[in-house]
Subunit: 357 residues, 2 copies
Amino acid sequence: MSIPDLWAVVPAGGSGTRLWPLSRAGHPKFLLDLTGAGHTLIQGTVERVAPLAEDRVVVVTGRAHAAAVRAQLPELAADQVLAEPSPRDSMAAIAWAAAVIEARDPEAVIGSFAADHVIPDGEAFRACVAEAVEVAREDYVVTIGVEPTFPSTAFGYIQLGHRLPGHSSAARVRQFVEKPDEARASAYLATGEFRWNAGMFVVRARVLLDLLAEWHPALAEGVRAIAADPAGLEERWPELTKIAIDHAIAEPAADIGRVAVVPGDFIWNDVGDFATLRELLPARDGMAVLGEAGDVLALDSSGLVAATGGRTVAVVGIPDVVVIDTGDAVLVTTTQAAQDVKRVVDALKAAERTALT
Amino acid sequence: MSIPDLWAVVPAGGSGTRLWPLSRAGHPKFLLDLTGAGHTLIQGTVERVAPLAEDRVVVVTGRAHAAAVRAQLPELAADQVLAEPSPRDSMAAIAWAAAVIEARDPEAVIGSFAADHVIPDGEAFRACVAEAVEVAREDYVVTIGVEPTFPSTAFGYIQLGHRLPGHSSAARVRQFVEKPDEARASAYLATGEFRWNAGMFVVRARVLLDLLAEWHPALAEGVRAIAADPAGLEERWPELTKIAIDHAIAEPAADIGRVAVVPGDFIWNDVGDFATLRELLPARDGMAVLGEAGDVLALDSSGLVAATGGRTVAVVGIPDVVVIDTGDAVLVTTTQAAQDVKRVVDALKAAERTALT
């Protein structure tokens, strides 16, 4: 099942402020076992892709988290964890990994999979990636388009174009569209032509960097120089263009017909907030519990309780409630207000209570 | 301002399960500073009546709480705290105190005021009690009828009859009525004849015991015997009739025209649950805070947060929420569901987690 020319790139960034107080700057969500699966999100991500990529895995993370990543993934060699001196958005992170991999194998295909997403059906995911690799070998930038299960306004969408001959389900990408409002999202779903953009890209390292060299030559040159001479990292890194891979590569490449999509009909969850997390967890009488189920007492209530503070949590008479109990902070909200949790982190920062963030 | 023949009796009982987890069996609500006033409810009760009764105060409480009561009220002499061997309802508690006081001063008037009620305007309260004492000297059982501010279904009501000549506002009690439904409560208020029954009684100790001797002779005889010979407490106490003062004395005495009422138009609050407690506390943007205000972060929310666990409590997007954070338990509910909090205590007991109750 291994695909010898496939390398997995795992960008492990983002602070996950909408998952506060579980997720903190010091231990962001990819380092947490948010689903009670027995492994953290980044461990799950690496496990999921391992049957295809084996030990060909490169994690790109912030310097502050490199030690934790190495501790959680002891199987990775020193050069498989790239520690960014500072955050410079997704294009720099992925391009750096691509340049490192390109230097080792100029024909390598990289698959970039975020460290903090959850895909329960690993087999369906890998079947999709395997087809994406085949398409990527034809020098396409390939994305995986997740079958939408509802008209989400939290994700961008991918519109499918003509089918690619010679592949079982791949199609050209007609366009990427930004997060829509709900009416537009419903309209997208009604056409049957749209998929969620889950931010997964499969592409030859060389193709990625060559396209980047066309539109952002300094960035492509910078990461290739760092890969060739790691001693230049400190000096070159702060000068790299700060841009997301979608804007830097995916959208312009789609405009010139260089992007393909493999539709995936597996469940995919970016664990973006507590409402999303709740959907991932088994529920009893509508109440999902993370942590110690014996610590939770729910009466006439539904939603999500995380009992990770070692204390008893009692909830009475609130539907769709979210209670997150930790050692030094407790959050109470609803699944409807879950997107606003990041405002708590903003307020704590404004009050200079950064120890809690 | 002191009234030399007035003795204050303070029954300090009840577990306050609807105020869990602030109130526990081991530290019930009367031992807590629930309003952030700087004193506990029982200290506030004694302070409120002290200008009238000075050191003529007798507290009746359960044996388990006697030491805590003495610690909170160090000014009381040993014989001013009566420790019940077991709970035998309000009539036994108040009658025991009445018998002890009667033995010291046969003409004494006692005023019975529960240890866990809150009356912010002490002066208005004392003016009312002073008039009640005058009426009680005419051998009436006198109650104080609190002006209702809304058609509560949580309290019993008192219907006023003819005015008593020679007093500024006292009237005969026509009848006591049990907690009504909301329609009936509204009808009561519309008549202008009804007051809330706040469970306050002012009556000569001798009159109380003589009336009791008519309807419950064994009970009257029992408490008088205990007062005469405290050594008999252990033997006699378990045999005392278990009955509330309303049923034992107030209602039958009203039927024979022996009960008067002094209307009080001060704010009175029995702190029966968190919805009631919220009304007592100052609120900022609709959010009342008990404990450390600096520990509370409320966004788009109203209600009550008790931050007594030393942790940050963040609430996002819930109106009328109640969050009670303590060292070993956190409760999340709404003011609408506040009455159901006692079910949490029932459930904890059923699960044999009595350490938390």
